[in-house]
């Protein structure tokens, strides 16, 4: 295996949880809701997914448990931010803090436990192709699921009526309500989808990426996912690009540190974040006329006005 192959493989695995978590949050934000609890939902997905997999011995049940934990966490957020029209920023932050704490409790007795990582796909012939084989056809199922998710979300948002209605709720909830759409119900589904995706991304971390549990193992990936949504200006295909750019730089700076590049490692570690800032500036300078953000983003909706 060449170095380039190795780098590409690690880039893809590092980017996958970002893609999954970010595409969920993208749907949430296109519906007009900001859920800053991605990190909390993700780590609960990691803890519950790992715990369930250890107890049942089934990776599949572990994944389901991770998704379920993410959805359950998102329902707490939905109760606060949608049901009670509480401030979405505060509710999301609270959810993250809550998730980080609760996951420590759930995972406490599983520290030190080890599982086999989820097996990589092995397609006869194709996987044996030089270079293309291991990179494109030798990944774990999550990688394909993440790309499939992005394509489905793109198709859903731009090609289906339900997607149109969801975007309408995010654009102008007062108008959507005036046309007779159930804004809160639609947003609830979006928030649950976002929770499920965050849980799935968490389960990927503890079941495939690094197959063990350690507290705080999401290490800020939930926040990066949030940044990627803005970076992508709420467009699915650009989100895929952004997540891979992010994952790529994370891995490259690791390799650079390993090769003894004479730049302080702290600076290299900060590189992905610097790149995000630069990219955000470039994008916002190029855009003129109107803001790409959904019009009703972050505004609570209640039926009374």
């Amino acid at each position: 295996m060449t170095l380039l192959e190795a780098i590409l493989l690690t880039v893809i695995t590092a980017s996958t949880p970002l893609v999954i978590a970010a595409i969920g949050e993208l749907v949430v934000e296109r519906a007009g809701v900001v859920n800053l609890g991605v990190e909390g939902m993700m780590i609960m997905g990691a803890a519950c997914g790992f715990a369930a997999a250890i107890m049942t011995g089934s990776t599949f049940i572990g994944v389901l448990a991770g998704v379920g934990a993410g959805v359950a966490m998102s329902l707490i957020f939905a109760l606060l931010a949608l049901g009670l029209a509480a401030n979405q920023i505060a509710s999301g932050l609270a959810l993250t803090i809550f998730g980080l704490g609760l996951s420590g409790l759930v995972g406490a007795s599983f520290i030190g436990a080890k599982r086999e990582a989820m097996p990589k796909l092995d397609v006869p012939v194709l996987t044996d192709l030089p270079f293309v084989g291991p990179v494109v056809f030798g990944q774990d199922p999550f990688v394909y699921i993440s790309v499939l998710l992005v394509v489905s979300v793109w198709w859903f948002l731009t090609r289906t009526r339900a997607g149109l209605v969801l975007r309408a709720c995010g654009e102008n909830h007062t108008s959507a309500h005036a046309l007779g759409y159930r804004v809160l119900r639609i947003r609830l589904f979006a928030v649950m989808f976002g929770g499920g995706c965050a849980g799935l991304a968490g389960a990927y971390l503890s079941l495939a990426y690094t197959p063990f549990w350690s507290p705080g193992m999401t290490a800020g990936r939930g926040w990066i996912a949030l940044a990627i949504v803005v970076f992508a200006s709420w467009l699915p295909w650009r989100l895929l690009m952004g997540a891979y750019l992010f994952g790529g730089i994370t891995i490259l700076q690791l390799h650079a540190q390993g090769m003894g590049v004479r730049i302080p490692s702290q600076l290299l570690s900060a590189l992905p974040y610097l790149v995000t800032i630069v990219a955000l500036v470039v994008i916002s300078r190029r855009r003129s006329g109107w803001n790409a953000a959904p019009g009703a983003l972050g505004k609570p909706f209640s039926r009374d006005y």
Binding site: R161, A168, N172, A176, H177, L179, G180, G289, W290, G295
Partner: protein
């Protein structure tokens, strides 16, 4: 005046019986009866806060009545949501459009259609329907790129695509230019010729008199009268609506020889963004005691002119704008306020006031520079409240709580508050944009009179308005804004509407650009 409810001959298309709607202690509709016959154009008249919007929202299923019945062709129906209303054949054109700015015309229309059709099919139908009613629309354009008139077309076309029996229009002309209004009336004529009923809500009494066969007049949530508006004078209708006589504002008749208080000298500004208009060599002079009216079709640079006068957009050089002899072209709004300037922008919510903030907070936002509401960096709450109380008393602002959030006030009352806030300090230079936009007759009269009084007291007043009636009523001189340039002002007496109309269309100018597409 016939008070009879229902018609003797046939069953009305829709009849609302004894509708009561309460919000807490407030009775918005108090036992209201309204019936609309097949094929008639029915006017619903009333001041802001009279309960028109509430009644119409109940008819469209957006609100549920506290009590009362709705009959559709004689059979009782319940309207739990707008879908139910649309299924019966009720279409609604909202006053504040229910459009999605970042979406295309076709997407906006698809959202209002209850059968799940592909957006592409909708686009074809949109072209077809909009052509047949003389309302051209490009389905692929995004809404934020369109003019107000074009946006209204979207609302109307999306109602028509559902083949409604009853079309409800809430203040449709309050945002339109005279030309656009003409197009709308042609369209309404076609709709009526197809035998559809129209419920027409408006403050503009002349429109109601030319358009409608019957009128129901609401005041304080009750039906005051039902009549044939064609047999009434506008004054009589206004009297029924307001409950008191409404007179025209007395015009300032003094000679225009006072000192120049506001001057703009050859001001040119580039367009602020892709959708803005560049100001081209704008010149104007307003003397003490004068009201200068600026007419023009929306989007010809009026907003940019207002921002340049208020200081929101600084001029390239200080001498371009002069207030009372002081060059203020580079000064910001607060500096200009400190020199006796006052500014009322077109948009009440969002520009004139911060919607979620209380009236005292909003008063402080502009009044801190001039009314002593801030002492040593701290806000003087008592002074701010007293300031608001004075505005409320002077301009008859009606509100529930003592210090409510700005957005809870009705349009007319909020406008009175904004005008009052700016005028209470007796400003030497007053610039107002669309002062009576969407404001009921009573409030509009109070505001116009206040503008005239300010001029009589020696102020220089600039009124930017699309309402020609208003300009001819109060302005001493009128000029027209077209494509970023201002025509030479002419005395309002002896000026014909035709002449102003031609200037508004860009005639009399060599490089007239294409005006908005109008129906032929």
């Amino acid at each position: 005046m016939d008070q009879a409810v229902g018609s003797a001959g046939s069953t009305p298309l829709v009849a609302m019986h004894a509708i009561v709607k309460t919000f807490g202690d407030l009775v918005a509709n108090d036992c209201v009866d309204l019936d609309i016959r097949e094929g008639e154009t029915h006017a619903l008249l009333g001041e802001n806060g009279a309960g028109k919007s509430t009644l119409v929202k109940i008819l469209y299923g957006l609100l549920q009545p506290t009590s009362g019945r709705i009959l559709w062709r004689g059979a009782p129906v319940s309207l739990p949501d707008p879908k139910a209303a649309r299924r019966l054949g009720i279409g609604m054109v909202f006053q504040h459009f229910s459009l999605f700015d970042a979406m295309t015309v076709a997407e906006n229309i698809a959202l209002a259609l209850d059968d799940a059709r592909a957006v592409n099919d909708v686009a074809d139908r949109v072209v077809e329907v909009s052509r047949s009613y003389g309302l051209p629309l490009e389905p692929g354009r995004e809404v934020w790129t369109l003019s107000v008139g074009e946006r209204q077309r979207i609302e109307i076309v999306r109602c028509l695509m559902q083949n409604p029996r009853l079309l409800v229009l809430d203040e449709p002309t309050s945002v339109l230019t005279p030309q656009e209004t003409g197009v709308l009336f042609e369209t309404l004529g076609r709709i009526r010729a197809e035998g559809r009923s129209i419920l027409y809500i408006s403050h503009k009494l002349e429109e109601v008199r030319t358009l409608c066969e019957r009128a129901t007049i609401l005041r304080h949530g009750k039906v005051i009268a039902a009549c044939d508006p064609r047999t009434q004078t506008a004054a009589a209708l206004a009297r029924m609506m307001v409950g008191a006589d409404v007179g025209a504002a007395r015009k300032a008749a003094g000679a225009l020889d006072g000192p120049v208080r506001l001057a703009v000298r050859g001001l040119s500004l580039p367009a602020p963004d892709d959708h803005g208009v560049a100001l081209r060599e704008v010149r104007l002079e307003v003397r003490a005691g004068e009201i200068l009216g600026v007419a023009g079709v929306a989007g010809n640079g009026q907003g940019e002119l207002f921002n340049a006068l208020s200081g929101e957009t600084p001029a390239p050089d200080a001498a371009a704008v002069v207030m009372d002899g002081v060059e203020v072209g580079r000064a910001g709004p607060n500096a200009r306020r400190a020199l006796g300037g006052a500014f009322v922008p077109e948009e009440r919510l969002g520009h004139g006031t911060a919607p979620g903030m209380t009236l005292t907070d909003n008063a402080i936002l502009t009044g801190h520079a001039t009314h002593g509401l801030v002492r040593r960096g701290f806000i003087d709450r008592a002074a701010a409240q007293a300031f608001v109380d004075r505005i409320v008393a002077a301009f008859d602002v009606r509100k529930g709580a003592r210090d409510p959030a700005a957005r809870t006030l009705s349009g007319g009352n909020l406008q009175k508050f904004v005008v009052g806030r700016e005028m209470l300090g007796d400003p030497g230079v007053l610039v107002v944009a669309q002062p009576t936009w969407g404001v009921d007759a009573g409030a509009a009269q109070i505001i116009r009179q206040a503008l005239v009084d300010r001029a009589l007291a020696g102020g220089a007043v600039v009124v930017i308005s699309q309402d020609l009636d208003e300009l001819f009523e109060i302005a001493d001189r009128i000029c027209v804004m077209f494509n970023g340039a201002l025509s030479a002002p002419a005395p309002a007496d002896g000026l014909s509407r035709e002449a102003v109309g031609l200037l508004m269309g860009g005639h009399g100018e060599s490089n007239a650009r294409e005006t908005q597409p109008c129906a032929s």
